[in-house]
């Protein structure tokens, strides 16, 4: 069914997969995601569709190993199948000609950012992209992002690549130089919180794409709920994109950690049973 056609390691923990899923490839637009499940008793978890090829009926996912499910996915080899895959889910990004766009991606958030950057560029915007990670080997998709960006700023915490500093420093630099009409931020929740504070300070309308915990992804359970402008919203059906300046990030951060202890325990059990570190090509 959902066969893995190719697999490429961006770093030890970040992998790009191309998967056969013709219907999703046809229906998806920038901003959409899928829910996957691996094995009969696997958990359902979301990943953004980083790209698609309608002709060949494939979608591209970029996944970071963080816990049991992402590791199970990365452990699958070319030719193997994903048990369950459903999508495209969520609301597509609303892309129009705005002027100058500041696109910011942190860590694996660069993957979902890629199709959005591409779409903004194709809609005639000037796109300035800031990508950031802890160190050089965690920077992903740099060349692909560059292709659709008028300008690319790369930031690393340790200075091992691009400029040394946090994503917000790169953003500040761009904002100081020219007028930004709109910003989009995707990355870890903490990064989005601070990046959103930065654009708020400069009164730049900003979208964030949120990565809450999900179960069904169809609006049925409410696991993904957050507070936006004082109202409860479901990220899977109302989002995943929201007005960054209205999101209650502190609440979201608390909710993301809801299952942390159980999941850490599950991960160490999994790692004791499976050695999956041998998969990085030398």
């Amino acid at each position: 069914m959902y066969e893995i056609l190719s697999k490429e390691f961006f770093s030890e923990n970040v992998v790009k997969l191309v998967i056969h899923a013709p219907r999703i490839a046809k229906a998806r637009r920038a901003g959409h995601f899928v829910i996957l499940k691996i094995g009969e008793k696997g958990e359902r978890f979301p990943l953004t569709i980083a790209g698609a090829d309608r002709e060949n009926g494939t979608i591209t996912l970029v996944v970071q190993k963080v816990g049991v499910s992402s590791r199970k996915l990365v452990a699958l080899e070319v030719g193997e199948c994903i048990t369950d895959l459903v999508g495209p889910l969520g609301q597509a990004t609303h892309i129009e000609h705005k002027g100058t766009i500041l696109a910011c991606g942190g860590g694996v958030g660069v993957a979902p950012l890629l199709p959005i950057v591409e779409a903004y560029k194709k809609a005639g915007n000037r796109v300035i992209t800031v990508i950031a990670a802890r160190s050089k080997d965690l920077i992903i998709l740099e060349d692909q992002i560059k292709e659709f960006s008028d300008e690319l700023i790369v930031m690393t915490d340790d200075g091992s690549h691009g400029q040394k500093g946090l994503v917000t420093e790169g953003m500040e630099a761009a904002i100081a130089r020219e007028k930004i009409d709109e910003a989009i931020i995707i990355g870890p929740a903490v990064m989005m919180k601070f990046a959103a504070m930065c654009t708020k300070k400069h009164n730049i309308p900003t979208m964030v794409s949120l990565n809450t915990i999900m179960v069904d992804g169809t609006g049925m359970c409410g696991a993904c709920r957050i507070t936006v402008a004082g109202k409860t919203k479901f990220v899977c059906v109302d989002g995943p994109e929201f007005d960054a300046h209205q999101v209650d990030f502190d609440e979201m951060l608390l909710r993301l950690n809801g299952y942390k202890e159980i999941e850490k325990a599950a991960e160490s059990t999994y790692l004791n049973l499976n050695t999956d570190s041998c998969q990085i090509p030398s």
Binding site: E43, G87, V215
Partner: protein, 493 residues
């Protein structure tokens, strides 16, 4: 109506029925006491997911069946939304012809093994039994008997596959695999259509699988029926969200001529009170889905579930009862129901409320949460509850609960399950701008044909009714199939 009466009369005057009636006097029949369902002991069952009711033995079933006096005017039938010929199947049981009894059920109901377990009989068939209405005695145990016959058939391995008309090559799509969709699919397959059921989740069965727990409705009972549909040629596509994975337009291009939306009322409501998004507060859908669909309580499942020692469930419906009893099975020492009206208004099936009491569930009625408090990690630790009193009846005819000032009380809870109702699933309506919906988001249909404002789109079950019942959803699936068959026959003529 007349047609039905004539049919019922002619059935009733069959020699075998006449003979049975003569066998025992009505006096004797009405003096017998209603059978007790065999149950697993409360202390044993709360340690596992074993089905609470273990069914009737053959002797019990036949004895209970002989209580039914085979009324000339069987009022019980009008209490059943799909009008099962109740005396006929009950008398088949009395006679010992259990497979025949099952066939009678299948004349009008696709999922008798399910309905026998989950129908609110005390409000439907059994409420209208002669015993209840006239004798003021306990009604014939129609639900138990229905379950008996259906289980007998399932266990015999001789499931009767209905006769299927010659394939007509016409493709129709069914959106959702809950009881409405499954019934629709079965009926259309019988009439010779090529039916594909599209299901958003990875499992078939809708609420029957992800909602109602194993201890009340084992999955295998549902799977047998799904297998029967597969053998009838019904195709199932899981992981397929109509409106997302493909639109109705796409499917039309692929040759589908008409659709039935049985997409359910799957969206949980919250109350909008302070602290409701703290960790440990979840909808009953999330709680039950994690356990029933994702098997979170099993060791080899990857899906985690939070469940504390003190679990509070808000609400008084079947969903609330299923959640609180699940919490008990997950090891809660205190599992509580908080319901804003009184015991009398509780909408859950009476049997479930009784079972819950036996299992040590605490009931706090005339009480409502108004605020949640959390620890420093954002995990809920206690709930502020306000007492209520009953005022004048509201639009629903039930007395309206009114908050009592100064009655607040703080109760500890590390897990809170919110079970205060569901809204219709918006995915299908959202993807069809021309589809007429109500202000509640339910699909508007012609009450007879279940046809929507888009002629080739029919709809039924919870997406039309809001949260209702399994049997009503099934009845809708059946009626929609009949109407669609007519519609397509005219159109393709």
């Amino acid at each position: 109506m007349e047609e039905r009466d004539t049919y019922l009369k002619s059935e009733r005057s069959q020699p075998w029925r006449e003979d049975l009636r003569k066998l025992i006097s009505n006096k004797e029949r009405t003096n017998m006491v209603r059978v007790k369902m065999n149950e697993v002991d409360a202390q044993v069952r709360i340690k596992s997911y074993v089905e609470v009711n273990s069914g009737l033995s053959m002797e019990q079933a036949q004895l209970e069946a002989s209580r039914c006096i085979d009324c000339p005017n069987p009022t019980c039938i009008s209490g059943c939304p799909v009008e099962i010929n109740i005396p006929k199947f009950v008398k088949r049981i009395e006679q010992g012809e259990f497979l025949e009894a099952a066939k009678v059920l299948k004349e009008t109901s696709t999922l008798p093994a399910v309905c026998g377990r989950v129908c609110p009989q005390e409000k439907q068939c059994e409420a209208n039994c002669f015993y209840t209405l006239k004798l003021k005695k306990e009604p014939v145990a129609i639900g138990f008997l229905e379950r008996f016959a259906a289980d007998y058939e399932q266990a015999s391995g001789e499931i009767s596959i209905p006769e299927i008309k010659e394939k007509n090559g016409v493709k129709v799509g069914c959106i959702g695999s809950g009881p409405a969709g499954l019934t629709f699919a079965g009926e259309m397959a019988k009439s010779g259509y090529e039916v594909t059921v599209f299901e958003a989740l990875h499992e078939i069965g809708g609420v029957l699988k992800y909602g109602i727990p194993e201890f009340r409705l084992p999955n295998r009972v549902v799977d047998v029926e799904i297998d029967a549909l597969k053998r009838m040629g019904v195709q199932f596509e899981t992981n397929f969200i109509v409106g997302k994975t493909a639109t109705i337009e796409d499917l039309k291009e692929e040759g589908f001529q008409a659709f039935f939306a049985g997409s359910g009322a799957g969206l949980p409501r919250f109350m909008g009170i302070p602290g409701e998004n703290y960790l440990g507060i979840l909808s009953s859908n999330e709680y039950l889905t994690r356990i029933n669909l994702m098997h979170a309580a099993e060791l080899d499942s990857d899906t985690p579930v939070l469940s504390g020692k003190n679990v509070m469930v808000i609400g008084g419906g079947n969903t609330a009862m299923d959640s609180v009893r699940t919490a008990k099975r997950l090891g809660a020492t205190r599992a509580m129901i908080v319901y804003r009206r009184s015991m009398d208004e509780m909408p859950a099936r009476i049997e479930e409320i009784e079972h819950a009491k036996e299992e040590g569930i605490e009931f706090m009625t005339l009480a409502n949460p108004i605020e949640y408090f959390a620890d420093e990690k954002g995990r809920v630790k206690s709930v502020k509850i306000q007492k209520m009193e009953l005022g004048e009846p509201d639009a629903s005819g039930r007395r309206r609960p009114i908050p009592m000032e100064g009655s607040e009380e703080i109760i500890e809870a590390e897990t809170v399950v919110v079970s205060v109702g569901v809204s219709p699933n918006p995915i299908v309506p959202d993807s069809l701008p021309d589809l007429e919906t109500t202000k509640w988001g339910t699909i508007v249909v012609n009450p007879d044909s279940l046809q929507s404002s888009i002629p080739e789109m029919f709809a039924g079950g919870d997406i039309v009714r809001g949260g209702a019942t399994v049997i009503l959803a099934m009845g809708d699936g059946r009626r929609a199939a009949q109407a669609m068959h007519k519609y397509l026959t005219n159109k393709n003529a």
